[in-house]
């Protein structure tokens, strides 16, 4: 390990921020090539949210039915509602196969077919059974295997360190500043390259499947550095969130044949997607559910419908969906082998994020200019692989494949570039944040601000959106941002200060949410996960383009000049019907 261990100052060629699938896969790529890498993560690597992924990871192995990368590409392009960049998707579907065999060779325990191959199951929006899986703990086994491989290659981990600021000057990344959660204290990480792999940001919503850690930290940090985010209006709502909790019951349940029913006991998907039924993509199913609920056909008129697995039989449920069974039983005392399970749409996946090109280099604008030395992969990034709507099982694959690609890109960069000097006062920004939260004179509590944000985001920027609601939310977010300046924390100590962590995270939620709202207001069409009741049609003529958004002194600045990369001869936009 070549990290210099001077206290509070570390020099290491590459800093990977985040130890989910994207971060670990990148770190492993570097370590295998004998490159110095330090992984900074605010939770222990095995606690990362990738471990929560249940259903599967996509690759057209064709182990159980005919399949091909071309088909995978078509499904992904269509699933993205034609907003996905097709060069990225093409690379993705081809590399996906390699990523899976590599995982298998690392020891990932995949479920198997009778003839001993990796088993594959159907998943929403995929036209062939393409989800490689390990029962319903796919993310868990992938994450653990990657972590173990990183141990094998002696990757250096900075566990429970949280990045508080990025060191970017003159469009060059020079490192990061991180807070040592366990002992307190800020550390400078001086590096040639930085990878932002901090995961999703579903925590802006009240009903969400995301973990507490999914607070979109790097999004806040990017905006703070006057850099843009891309396509933030696209947030996927998953149709099978456990009622009131929001935690996820895997789509694998529907992959295995579960029904969704309304108060009348009707499989209502027949009215919305007669061909694919429950296996239509998530945005379609979530909207169908919400429509049923809004029209009083939720169970007993309430805010939920049923996920019914009973006909699958206890044996299949226990074998293929043990986690689904366990979650329903433990959280709401419902035995899904005997009773239907109450569900509602839950904020699940963030398609937008830190813009990057196909090599995972972070973009400075819509013209393709980059920030030297800064990279991003996984759910924090917007490449744009998923466009306006991600297909299930494509995100684990996206995180792993582009994590590997990021590792490779950074490895090349490191070899041909020297260290750039640090800014003159590298700790200034991070220190400012801490002192304002610890020593400020205000009286606001981060918990109540967060609750207000989440409640209102779920209400006003949920499955269905309209201008009036979004304008209300725009007002609200301004108010919350103002009040945030007066937040003060109870805990003034250095050691494991959870209060400080949460207050810092709220700051990030509040900035990127503003961008999310403005992006949604501006996009006057319905595409993929972004659905406006006042503009219910997709509008290719005006809106076949990405959103780039900056936070400025005077509000959010938007630029819609970034074109979607489309292979017009092969995958021209068509109506998206299922």
């Amino acid at each position: 390990m070549k990290v210099e261990e001077a206290k509070y100052y570390h020099q290491v060629d590459t800093v990977v921020v985040g130890a989910g699938l994207a971060g670990l896969r990148a770190a492993l790529e570097l370590a295998r090539n004998n490159q110095a890498v330090g992984v900074i993560t605010k939770v222990y690597p095995t606690r990362s949210h990738s471990g929560g992924a249940q259903g599967g990871i996509a690759a057209s192995l064709a182990n159980v039915a005919e399949d091909s990368p071309e088909l995978h590409m078509f499904d992904t392009v269509k699933g993205s509602d034609y907003l996905g960049d097709q060069d990225v998707i093409e690379l993705f579907v081809n590399e996906a196969i390699k990523t899976i065999y590599e995982f298998e060779h690392m020891g990932v325990p995949f479920s198997r077919t009778e003839d001993g191959k990796i088993n594959q199951r159907p998943f929403g929006g995929h036209s062939s059974p393409r989800a490689c899986f390990s029962a319903d703990i796919t993310g868990h086994v992938l994450l653990h295997t990657l972590y173990e491989q990183c141990l094998k290659y002696n990757v250096h981990f900075f566990n429970e360190y949280q990045v508080f600021s990025l060191l970017i000057k003159d469009d060059i990344s020079r490192g990061v500043v991180a807070w040592d959660i366990r002992n307190g204290g800020l550390h400078i990480f001086h590096s040639k390259t930085v990878l932002l792999a901090t995961g999703g940001y579903g925590r802006a919503f009240k009903i969400t499947s995301n973990s507490f850690a999914n607070s979109g930290d790097s999004l806040g940090l990017i905006l703070e550095n006057k850099l843009p985010l891309e396509d933030m209006e696209f947030v996927q709502f998953h149709p099978t969130g456990l009622y009131k909790h929001g935690i996820l019951l895997s789509e694998a349940a529907r992959g295995e044949g579960a029904y969704i029913t309304n108060d009348k006991g009707e499989r209502f998907m027949k009215n919305y997607a007669p061909e694919k039924m429950e296996l239509a993509p998530r945005d379609v199913v979530s909207r169908a559910e919400q429509t049923e609920i809004n029209n009083g056909r939720g169970i007993n008129g309430q805010e939920y419908v049923y996920l019914d697995l009973r006909h699958l039989g206890a044996k299949k449920i226990m074998e293929r969906l043990p986690q689904v069974q366990e979650l329903a039983l433990k959280y709401i005392k419902t035995d899904c082998t005997l009773e239907p399970v109450p569900i509602q749409p839950t904020a699940h996946y963030s398609m937008g994020g830190v813009p990057a090109n196909i090599k995972t280099e972070v973009l400075k604008n819509g013209n393709g200019d980059i920030i030297k030395g800064l990279y991003t992969a996984g759910e924090a990034s917007c490449l744009s692989l998923h466009g306006a709507n991600r297909l299930g099982t494509n995100s684990l694959q996206g995180a792993a494949t582009f994590g590997r690609i990021a590792g490779k890109s950074m490895s090349e960069f490191v070899k041909s570039n020297a260290y750039e000097s640090l800014p003159s006062n590298p700790l200034e920004v991070a220190n400012g944040k801490i002192s304002s939260l610890v020593e400020g004179s205000g009286k606001e509590k981060h918990a109540s601000l967060r609750e207000e944000l989440q409640k209102n985001m779920t209400k006003f920027l949920g499955v269905f959106r309209n201008e009036k609601d979004m304008l209300t939310m725009k007002q609200k977010i301004k108010e919350l941002q103002d009040r945030y300046k007066k937040v003060i924390i109870d805990d003034k100590g250095k050691i494991y200060n959870l209060d400080l962590i949460e207050a810092f995270e709220l700051g990030n939620l509040l900035v990127f949410s503003e961008v999310l709202i403005e992006g949604s207001l501006a996009r006057k069409e319905s595409r993929g996960a972004h659905y406006r009741t006042d503009f219910p049609e997709r509008d290719d003529e005006n809106w076949l383009k990405h959103t780039m958004a900056w936070k400025t002194e005077t509000g959010v600045k938007l630029d819609h000049s970034k074109k979607v990369i489309i292979y017009w001869d092969r995958y021209p936009p068509q109506e998206r019907k299922y």
């Binding site: 939770v43 222990y44 095995t46 606690r47 990362s48 949210h49 471990g51 929560g52 192995l61 899976i100 065999y101 298998e104 060779h105 690392m106 020891g107 325990p109 995949f110 479920s111 198997r112 077919t113 009778e114 003839d115 001993g116 191959k117 990796i118 390990s134 029962a135 703990i137 868990h140 086994v141 653990h144 295997t145 173990e148 491989q149 141990l151 094998k152 366990r182 973990s211 507490f212 850690a213 909790h245 935690i247 986690q323 366990e326 979650l327 433990k330 959280y331 709401i332 509590k445 918990a447 109540s448 109870d490 805990d491 100590g493 250095k494 050691i495 494991y496 200060n497 959870l498 209060d499």
Partner: protein, 236 residues
Amino acid sequence: MAKQKIKLKILRYTPEKQKKPYWSTYQLEVDQDSTVLDVLNEIHWNIDGSLSYRRSCRSAICGSCALKVNGQNILACETPIHKFKGKKLKIEPLPGFPIIKDLVVDMDNFFEKLRQIKPFLILKKPLPDKEFTQSPEQFSEIRESILCILCGACTSSCPSLWSNKDYLGPASLLKAYRFIFDSRDDGAMERIDMINDRNGIWRCHTIFNCMEACPKNINITEYISKLKVKIVENSI
């Protein structure tokens, strides 16, 4: 949702301020179907922000929030308070680990022991172009062992470990099982050398505490026994 008044005790400790941990009492009103984590959040968010604990996924898969409540090691996020019906909750950090602050413990040693058993596939054969074949039966040998979320509840409840800190402990042994019994692995001998050590598998006296503590209901003792048999077979 019906509300309920509860009274509870939490073991608190801030090393910057106190020499040793002390009990603090709280009274609050929560939903009847609250989990232990909901209660901790409620205290941290609305009563005393200085209370620290670990949590992340809320769905019993990240393994962050293992704690001891009324003498039992549990995951805070999946355990409803009504499980301890009528009793006053007594919440403390996982025993057997040094306390960092309040309910947060130092698990470095736990993860270090995991590293010791070489927790990765060891291959001595060439890689196939596609996947290694493994039958569903072979997969089912390890199916339960891969459920482990490294929460530490088992290791923390093991009396053998309390008396000898260097003992590998149930979670690492389970991990050793997971690899030794993976049909693809060629590293059994290396790992057996490792666990057949003074501080290894023979420190397990089949007390079953680990199994009771495991939130994933993994039959840890059975797998440790299978490992013992394997070692004996190999040494003849």
